[in-house]
């Protein structure tokens, strides 16, 4: 796949407002990918050296539950990001990521990016800030799911 031009990354909500030089660097670590319905973008336990900017379609994050089959814990849609595990040790995917319908995405080489982040703390901080915001949002959503808010609807 050819590298992704910088404007493509700039147009993705996750990178909105990022410094142009950082976008240019990210573009050199990015490539366009496509997945057919049911294809896996990543599998639990495999090395996580990439993350994906979803540009079309959606991705189900799944976990295998013994006796229940795969359980979908979250869907990542157009304009969102799949993958934190490239950022932190041990760099292994925590869940399966499966395409629902045709998925278009930008795959970013996280391993290469980690080295750049170490060399350029401003880039590292900016990316960490964005991924932290994303992780916080997902954590809050997970808390709401755990609360099972629809399961408590009064007693009368």
């Amino acid at each position: 796949m050819p590298p992704i031009p910088e404007p493509v990354l700039r147009g993705h909500p996750f990178f909105a407002g990022l410094d142009p030089s950082h976008l240019d660097l990210l573009a050199r670590h990015a490539s366009g990918v496509a997945f057919t319905d049911g294809a896996f973008l990543f599998r639990e336990g495999q090395p996580a050296e990439t993350f994906f900017l979803i540009n079309g379609g959606s991705v189900a994050l799944e976990v295998a539950a013994p006796g229940r089959g795969p359980v979908v814990i979250q869907t990542i849609g157009d304009g969102e990001v799949a993958g934190f595990s490239w950022l932190l040790e041990p760099h292994r995917w925590e869940f399966d990521g499966r395409a629902i319908g045709a998925v278009a995405a930008v795959r970013v080489d996280g391993a290469g990016l980690r080295a750049k982040c170490t060399a350029d703390p401003l880039l590292g901080y900016e990316l960490m800030r964005r991924f932290a915001r994303l992780a916080t949002r997902r954590l809050q959503a997970t808390r709401m799911q755990i609360l099972d808010v629809y399961g408590h609807a009064g007693t009368r």
Partner: protein, 280 residues
């Protein structure tokens, strides 16, 4: 049909027996009763009736049908306790006690001219459905009409055939999510507040109607405000322990408000302070 805003405190009236024309099982624990009024009846979207079963009790239930259809008054009821269980067990030909309608309505006129977001969680969709019917009947009065709806699982989604029909329309944006699902579900898994960022709308003139569990509403309001929707254009429908429905008993007090008299539909700005007090 009632005129918008034609609500307020109602005098106590005795419940009248209304005949069940049909009872439709919506999900494993939720039933829609199609009731035939015993006389003339009109309501506004967002209003509720007090439904009763003799010897069991009485509960407030929002009206879930089309305000323009005065022959069929629908109530969608989730079986969560003795009274709702007795109501859910009613079958065609039996009767339920009804008094109402009560409460404030969704301010559709105030929402006209801008985008309208209708946001429901769980059993929060039935109180909003009349507003959606009315908005669609007057479609050219609004910009985008957006329905965001979430439930616990795909099996808990209410009105799936109607959701499909709305989704097929080019003039309504419908986003549905569930908290958990297996692989057979091809829709979204996640929470309702996160849907707010997924839809296009102009927050400067958008109005949002929100109903669901209070936690879901709190986080949804945060998402709306973060998106730029003004707090005086966000409306919630509140639930408390409503008993008399005519501002006599005080059971449904929330701060200075009685939900039955001042609500159930409130502008978020009026409620903000009181929702933040944990003891209430």
């Amino acid at each position: 049909m009632l005129a918008p805003g034609d609500v307020g405190q109602r005098a106590w009236i005795e419940a009248r027996p209304w005949r069940v024309a049909a009872a439709r099982q919506e999900t494993s624990d939720t039933v829609t009763l199609d009731l035939t009024p015993s006389g003339a009846f009109a309501f506004l979207p967002g209003q509720f009736n007090m439904l009763s079963v003799p010897g069991v009790g009485e509960v407030p239930i929002s009206i879930s049908g089309d305000p323009a259809d005065d022959g069929h008054v629908l109530h969608t009821i989730r079986d969560v306790g003795a009274v709702t269980r007795a109501l859910c067990a009613l079958r065609a030909g039996q009767r339920a006690g009804v008094r109402g309608p009560y409460g404030t309505d969704w301010p559709l006129a105030a929402a006209a001219g801008g985008d309208l977001l209708i946001i429901a969680g769980g059993i929060g969709l039935p109180p909003l459905r009349p507003a959606l019917y009315q908005a669609l009947a007057q479609r050219d009065r609004f910009g985008r009409v957006i329905l965001l709806y979430g439930a616990r699982t795909p099996d808990d989604l209410l009105f799936p055939a109607e959701l499909a029909r709305w989704r097929a329309r080019s003039d309504v944006d419908v986003e549905v999510t569930v908290d958990t699902a297996d692989r057979n579900w091809r829709g979204n898994v996640g929470v309702v507040p996160n849907l707010v960022d997924r839809v296009l709308f102009d927050p400067r003139a958008a109005t949002a109607f929100v109903v669901g569990p209070e936690i879901m509403m709190r986080f949804t309001v945060r998402a709306l405000l973060a998106a730029g929707v003004a707090d005086d254009r966000v409306y919630l429908s509140m639930e408390r322990n409503m008993q008399c429905a005519v501002a006599l008993c005080g059971h449904c007090q929330l701060g200075p408000f009685l939900i039955c008299r001042d609500g159930p539909v409130f502008r978020y700005r009026r409620l903000d302070r009181w929702l933040g007090i944990r003891e209430l």
